[in-house]
Symmetry: C2
Subunit: 466 residues, 2 copies
């Protein structure tokens, strides 16, 4: 074991009044591992990692933190993309890894009462084992935790049908910055007894309290799903296609990607192009397989109208999976280009105009940069990825991207959109928050932070500057 | 015109700096009309009623209110049942009646941008005219306003399928107690840029800000609905029935009422008993008519299992309406008994045990009182109505009911339920809030109130004591 700093030694001796020795880690590898999330561009420098095993331990820690002069970073599966779980400044990382149990299942209510460290996929499996369905799903479901999902109001691929995490939080328990334990809403569907504090914690990124338990509502199991991929000749036809299908069937997903995105996936994976000819844009639709006749009729209508030029439909589960790969493989296939990623949203009706705005700014100022578009267009949520040209250094590339950010965010602001659709603010977007929230909103957020965390020990400098 | 008090004259002269003469009312009938809601047991004594026609006028009024020493009561359709819109203490009632326009329709987003004074039924009709559906519906839809629905997070009869008002609020504009105009969320589906203040205003009963505009999301039109009424032999079988049907079909409603409730409706209206024999309890189900085969199969199964003893199904829209009357006629049919009404909720699984708790307390302490139960059992929301016996005076009856309240609320507290499921707290439940919220939650609510309304001019003494 390397020699410990004075600060580390002091914390270790203090921590023993709350934790057992095996609940605290201070070694370099551990600090690096638990001190960061999927973002890799922020400084990582925690003082220690603690692994509480009870709410009482968390309360103890929170109550002593001001006196000990330490700040706390709540930590789940660390799959975030905004630095919300990064500890850059000698914080104590409070990992929920060991609070990962299902505590109760209220069958009639379809509610699972669980600890916040439960991995999303385990909740999905539990639901499935009981003939039910937990509908929030995204690529990091295998390691993200329910508490983290709540703290960021996680979205994913089926928001168009099932909404965000918020909709499934029937109750939650949080420890505030003064160490008070709030048990909010208790799984009730109807509860009109004043301000719904539960909703304040959803999406608060660990800045108001540490979510320690949740009552998650489950859904009925969906029917078998069918997947359709469509080739779309022009941007402004996509919304016509969305509308036509929404009028005919209930969609579980309506995703979109550009020809460039498809090329990157095809270059990266052993999949063949779904259509003989290329098209500037593609849409991927998912819906109940029993709706296939309505879906086919709608396809004929949009083909007739010239809004799509080709289409392919899954005839089996494995074909559905392969079609989904065209969309889900994008992130991985462009990773080697160290893309400048942005997760943004506008109202659905604003999408085509906004895409054109951005493409034109990039074309004007950065004609040598490739832009890969994809996203959940049915929710107005777009993932913008600018690829680093091979001949430019990473520093130069980031420099240019930093110039692009304010231009991009201004375009979003003009259309009343969001600079972070589902990834949160964290460290990444903190200094740009005013592009989506007014000064008065930010002032009120600060006041709310002060109410719940008067000593400013919970995830300081995330979302709002301390 | 009767002579005006000094306070009235002073307010009138001041108000002319903000409003035109025809925007202010101070006469007795008007004060009585706009100064109250559907509750009739609270003192009503407003100083004046104002009818703003713009956000600017509301901002002006709010900014001057502290200096003028007046408090403001935001007022919608005044159909509330908790006294939330009552002005008992020389307040200025701020009626949204003249801010009732639809400002924009974002077709692709299915969003209606409207002023807060829009009557619920007008939004429903607008949706229908555009081939869409606004799913929040209840008996006061013809006069309740969208702003009021948001302020109370209105629920109603189809919550089991469509959720509360909260789910349909894609954005809202509110004027805070300092006269700041917050335009929140702008109709976005995904927006992870910090605390979602929108959700704080939903259900805040006009105590944090005056909701002046909203972006309401619409749904697709549902198919034709079928209605089934079931006779249920024992209380504890109701949830078996709910579960069986939920596993087979998607329910739009699952309502419940007792034999006594049915008797009151049959005595009050010209409808015949749906079954030849009486049964202690009944359930009313609504679902997509296309699901009738699954529904019939499920009916056979629950009949076979002894969980229901009889059933009837609508074969036409008019039959469906008649069956709904059995449930919707209850409130009116018991009105002459001046019932002591309580709108409460528990988790669905707790419903049978809770009903037995209450019946046993009433039987033990008040054997001469009749209890009429009905409600939205699929949401855990029960309407408890204790009828006044003819031979007891109204004062004596209220006296006895006041004794019952703490006993009832304790039973709710034991089961982690809500003392107000959908009617709100207002004046009616304010002093009982601690049965559903902890002292720390109430303390935090007070702090939040102070952040948004530091001068305490917005609906003071509602929800929280000033």
């Amino acid at each position: 074991m390397p020699s410990q700093s004075t600060a580390t030694k002091q914390f270790m001796s203090r921590a023993m009044s709350v934790f057992a020795a095996n609940q605290v880690k201070t070694e370099g590898d551990d600090l690096a591992n638990w001190g960061t999330d999927w973002t890799k561009s922020f400084k990582v420098d925690p003082l220690a990692i603690v692994f509480p095993e009870s709410i009482d331990q968390i309360v103890d820690l929170v109550k002593r933190a001001p006196e000990w002069g330490v700040a706390l970073v709540p930590s789940g599966g660390r799959t975030g993309l905004s630095g919300g779980a990064v500890a850059p400044n000698q914080e104590i990382v409070v990992s929920l890894d060991r609070m990962n149990k299902i505590l109760a299942f209220h069958e009639t209510d379809k509610i699972v009462h669980c600890q916040a460290g439960l991995v999303t996929q385990r909740l999905q499996e539990f639901a499935s084992d009981h003939g039910l369905f937990y509908p929030v799903d995204f690529s990091s479901s295998g390691s993200s935790q329910i508490g983290g999902n709540i703290a960021t109001n996680a979205g994913g691929i089926r928001v168009i049908r099932y909404g965000m995490t918020r909709r499934w939080v029937a109750g939650l328990t949080a420890v505030t910055g003064t160490g008070e334990v709030l048990r909010l809403n208790h799984g009730l569907i109807k509860n009109a007894t004043g301000y719904d504090l539960r909703h304040l914690f959803v999406g608060s990124e660990g800045t108001l309290g540490i979510v320690v338990e949740a009552e998650m509502r489950l859904s009925s199991q969906p029917e078998e799903q069918q997947v359709m991929v469509l080739a779309i000749p022009e941007l402004n036809r996509i919304l016509e296609v969305l509308r036509a299908f929404q009028n005919a069937i209930e969609l579980s997903a309506f995703e979109f990607f550009s020809e460039l995105a498809l090329q990157k996936v095809l270059a990266h994976r052993d999949i063949s192009r779904p259509f003989s000819r290329s098209s500037p844009f593609y849409a991927l639709l998912e819906y109940d397989a029993s709706q296939f006749e309505n879906a086919n009729e709608t396809f004929e209508a949009v083909l007739e109208a010239g809004n799509v030029v080709d289409g392919v439909v899954s005839q089996s589960l494995s074909q559905a999976t392969t079609l989904w790969e065209l969309r889900e493989g994008i992130s991985e296939s462009i990773a080697s280009y160290t893309p400048y990623k942005n997760d943004i949203s506008v109202r659905i009706g604003e999408v085509p105009g906004f895409l054109e705005d951005v493409d034109s700014v990039v074309a004007q100022h950065y004609p040598d940069l490739e832009v890969v578009w994809f996203g959940h267009i049915g929710d107005g949520n777009l993932h913008l990825n600018i690829l680093k040209p091979a001949e430019i250094s990473i520093d130069d590339f980031y420099q240019r991207c930093h110039e692009i950010s304010p231009k991009l965010f201004s375009l979003i602001q003009n259309r009343e959109g969001s600079i972070s659709a589902e990834h949160g603010v964290g460290l990444l977007k903190r200094d740009f928050l005013n592009y989506s929230r007014t000064n008065e909103e930010i002032r009120l957020m600060r006041e709310l932070k002060r109410v719940f965390d008067p000593h400013c020990i919970l995830n300081p400098n995330k979302l709002l500057t301390a």
